[in-house]
């Protein structure tokens, strides 16, 4: 999940929940989706908890 962005993870989680809500998934799939969903949730939480705000200044270019 290293390549995953928060945005993509959040979107996938929403899709999984929607899919499960429709009740179309079979047992094996439902279990897989659940596991994946939990993984995504943990990823999103971790991202939010770990993120530290930062305000930086763009270095001024040397004026000629």
């Amino acid at each position: 999940m290293n390549e995953l962005t928060f945005e993509a993870a959040e979107k996938e989680l929403a899709e999984i929940v929607e899919r499960l809500e429709r009740g179309e998934a079979g047992l094996d799939e439902a279990i897989k989706l659940w596991e994946r969903g939990e993984e995504l949730y943990a990823f999103c939480r971790k991202r939010l908890d770990e993120a530290h705000g930062r305000i930086e200044e763009l270095a001024r270019e040397v004026q000629s």
């Binding site: 962005t5 989680l13 009740g23 047992l27 659940w34 969903g37 705000g53 930062r54 930086e56």
Partner: protein, 384 residues
């Protein structure tokens, strides 16, 4: 440099020396070859007298304080009927000129146009129409903003207020936000180029997913750089979406139209740029709850289905016997329907004479003994 105009010089050994007049003439000749241009500035020190051939005024640049002397033929000036007052902004069309007798450099005006707010607005309107025709402001050019920008580029003036307002609105809503701030001139003639440059440099930085251009309110002139064509084109061409947070609600710099979205306040800008962390955390938690609830529901449903299948499986043999029995009953009924007894039960009778079934009246004669069989039993009879 003066070699190409006719000026007289005196040679003292290896030193070539010009008279003042010839120097001035030389420079004047050189200047005369420059093209005519438009110059914008504020009129001050207007001097006009009936006896003079020319009128004189000074054109001043209010931002930098630079000034330039201007002369114009009095008849030409009078014909314009401008009635200029000190401090009015004008556009002067003319060419550089040197008053040879005094070595005074000035602008020789061929025409003067008042350029007040009305003219400014008209010029902006022309620019707006032109860029709109090019499709620069078209709705289909607008890009959606990222929901979770990795880094936000902020272009802002070096007046602290606009920067502080945006930064605190963004971090208040989403504390983990990361911003990269480019402070630039946001006022005066240098502003457009400076802002364009800041946009370019921000885009070169890694992980910048969106850029916001912020400036507090100001006078009409203060906000003019944000309607500059160069700036508008740079905003439209910016590789990441741009939010315009310039001026207040009632201000409409053209930058608002070129940007992907406009925000009228720092708070509105923050709403566009980042999600609300608290809402986001709650939404995530809700999603997780539904995830679990839905998965459990699927599990329960499957369990129930399997249970039902088991029951049906166990009931199957008994059902099969029952079904066979019923089929047998049906066969028996059909058999019954076909037997002659069924006919007798409807009231018919079988007549026999000496055990032979009587099928015609001629087969019997009066006095013959016959046997009659009905549904319930049989009896003897004699033919009359």
């Amino acid at each position: 440099m003066l070699a190409c105009v006719k000026v007289e010089a005196i040679d003292y050994g290896d030193r070539r020396v010009y008279t003042v007049a010839s120097f001035n003439r030389g420079v004047a000749g050189w200047l005369a070859r420059l093209p005519t241009v438009w110059v914008e500035g504020e009129v001050t020190e207007l001097r006009r007298q009936e006896a003079w051939q020319s009128v004189f005024f000074t054109l001043k640049d209010p931002e930098s304080g630079a000034s330039l002397g201007v002369t114009m033929q009095r008849t030409r000036f009078d014909a314009l009927r401008l009635e200029l007052r000190d401090g009015e902004r004008v556009h002067v069309f003319g060419r550089p000129d040197l008053f040879e007798a005094r070595g005074d450099f000035r602008l020789r005006a061929l025409s003067v146009e008042r350029f007040g707010i009305g003219e400014h607005l008209a010029a902006l309107e022309r620019l707006k129409v032109k860029l709109a025709a090019e499709g620069l402001f078209a709705a289909e050019r607008k890009r959606p903003l990222p929901r979770f920008p990795r880094r936000i580029g902020l272009v802002t003036g070096n007046d602290a207020a606009a920067k502080r307002d945006i930064v605190s609105a963004v971090t208040g809503r989403f504390p983990p936000a990361r911003m990269l701030v480019a402070e630039v001139y946001v006022q005066g003639p240098r502003a457009p180029a400076a802002i364009v440059d800041a946009l370019r440099r921000l885009c070169e930085e890694p992980e910048i997913d969106v850029i916001v251009i912020a400036r507090g309110g100001g006078s009409f002139e203060d906000l003019l750089p944000f309607s500059d064509e160069r700036l508008l084109r740079a905003v439209a061409a910016c590789p990441v979406p741009v939010v315009s947070a310039v001026g207040h609600e009632q201000d409409t710099p053209l930058c608002d139209l070129a940007a992907d979205v406009r925000a009228s306040t720092p708070t509105a800008a923050a709403k566009l740029l980042v999600p609300d962390l608290r809402e986001l955390t709650e939404a995530l938690a809700r999603r997780r709850t539904s995830l679990e609830r839905c998965a459990r529901r699927t599990l329960d449903r499957e369990r129930q289905r399997v249970g039902l299948l088991g029951e049906r499986l166990r009931r199957a043999p008994a059902l099969a016997v029952e079904r066979r029995g019923a089929a047998l009953e049906r066969q028996a009924a059909r058999l019954q329907a076909l037997s002659p007894r069924a006919t007798l039960s409807r009231g018919y009778a079988i007549v026999r004479k000496e055990s032979e079934v009587v099928r015609a009246a001629a087969a019997v004669a009066a006095g013959d003994a016959i046997e009659v069989e009905v549904a319930e039993g049989a009896f003897g009879a004699r033919v009359e």
